[in-house]
Amino acid sequence: MAGVEDEILVRRVAAGDERALGGLYDRYAGLVYGAGTRYLGDRGQAEDLVQDVFLSVWRNADRFDPSRASFSTWVYRITRNRATDLVRRRKARVRTVDGDPPPEPQEPDPSGSLSRGFDVAAALAGLSQTHREVLVLAYFKGLSQREISARTGTPLGTVKSRTTAAMRALREAMSQGPEGG
């Protein structure tokens, strides 16, 4: 699924292709889960959020309109809405049991960092395999350029120039990507 555009995967999902849903999961589930642990505060609820979001993607894929927003923007909105719903639902349940409403929940993504994260995820998915690899190893595995060289068996100079090229490609992808409001 690597390298296939999100919008193509969504069309496959709309036709009932679970593998395509798995491809989108690989790209975005980390952000959804991260949002869950941050805003819902526990891993069980974060797992519920991931399930809710991808069930929603599955059910509504045939209504996704790429002319209105990119897939990353669409799935971001689903995530934010579902996180808000889960916070409210939990709040309602707690109030039913205790009688006292808990403190107002934090609004999901007040700084916009989650929204930008979805944009970066989309841009990263569109890079070549070699470009994506160096960025993932550096930013997600925390490897230095030297460690990436050792891990991949690539000369250090090549790792450095490849990293530079990958970051450049990412910027270009983000500046050209479809914008969603």
């Binding site: 589930a29 399930q51 669409w74 409210r88 450095k160």
Partner: protein, 221 residues
């Protein structure tokens, strides 16, 4: 660009802070005299900040979650068909008229919402109602849980309430899970009603039944 390919190739690790001291010094000296590379550094720094933020916002979900979240989805043909629990003809007709599954999540913004509180008939039930859009183009999103499953020709109905006035916002059924999530066609100015309620119904009488299951105050958002 072609006169200094080596320095230019180092700009990514430079903004990441991952050059050895000699390389770093060489890049800094070069930048003092090269506007094009300074511009490139600014662009790469944005990429760097985007990636740092992205990595911080992400967290690897547990391995087992993918199977649960992706596999075993209902077939696409079932997405907007009336579910099997609504086989009773009268209920099915009402459902077909009142429900619209999966209405766009990108619809209008939320203009009113209510937290549904239980009655004695369903003490463990709860729910949320949201009115999206407003005016003539509103939709009502309902999520409820803990409701008794419908049997036979039973169904539930959501009402907008003001004083003695009751306006139906649509009907729905609930399966064994007791949970439901539906988007209903909103009556005009649905967001202007002060209260909402859900009743259990068994007939085709258009007026509300007596079996109130959930209720709540609708507040503007």
């Amino acid at each position: 660009m072609s006169e200094h390919p080596e320095t230019r190739d180092l700009l990514g690790p430079f903004v990441m802070g991952d050059l050895d001291p000699a390389e770093k010094r060489a890049v800094e000296e070069h930048l003092e005299n090269c506007a094009s590379c300074r511009q490139e550094v600014e662009s790469l720094r944005l990429a760097h900040e985007n990636l740092v933020e992205f990595a911080a916002a992400s967290e690897a979900p547990p391995e087992h979650l993918k199977d649960r979240a992706v596999a075993g989805m209902p077939g696409p043909a079932a997405r907007r068909l009336v579910p099997p629990w609504a086989a009773a003809a009268a209920a099915a007709l009402l459902l077909a008229a009142g429900l619209a599954y999966g209405t766009s999540l990108l619809g209008g913004r939320e203009v009113a919402a209510a937290t549904l509180e239980p009655t004695d008939r369903a003490p463990r039930a709860g729910g949320e109602v949201k009115v999206m859009g407003g005016g003539e183009n509103a939709e009502v999103r309902l999520e409820a849980w803990g409701l008794p499953a419908c049997e036979g020709e039973e169904y539930y109905e959501l009402w907008l309430v003001e004083g003695e006035e009751r306006v139906s916002a649509g009907t729905f059924s609930v399966g064994k899970s007791g949970e439901v999530e539906v988007v209903l066609n909103a009556p005009e100015f649905a967001d202007a009603y002060p209260q909402v309620g859900i009743t259990a119904e068994t007939d085709t009488d258009p007026s509300p039944g007596d079996a109130k299951m959930l209720g709540g105050k609708l507040r503007g958002t």
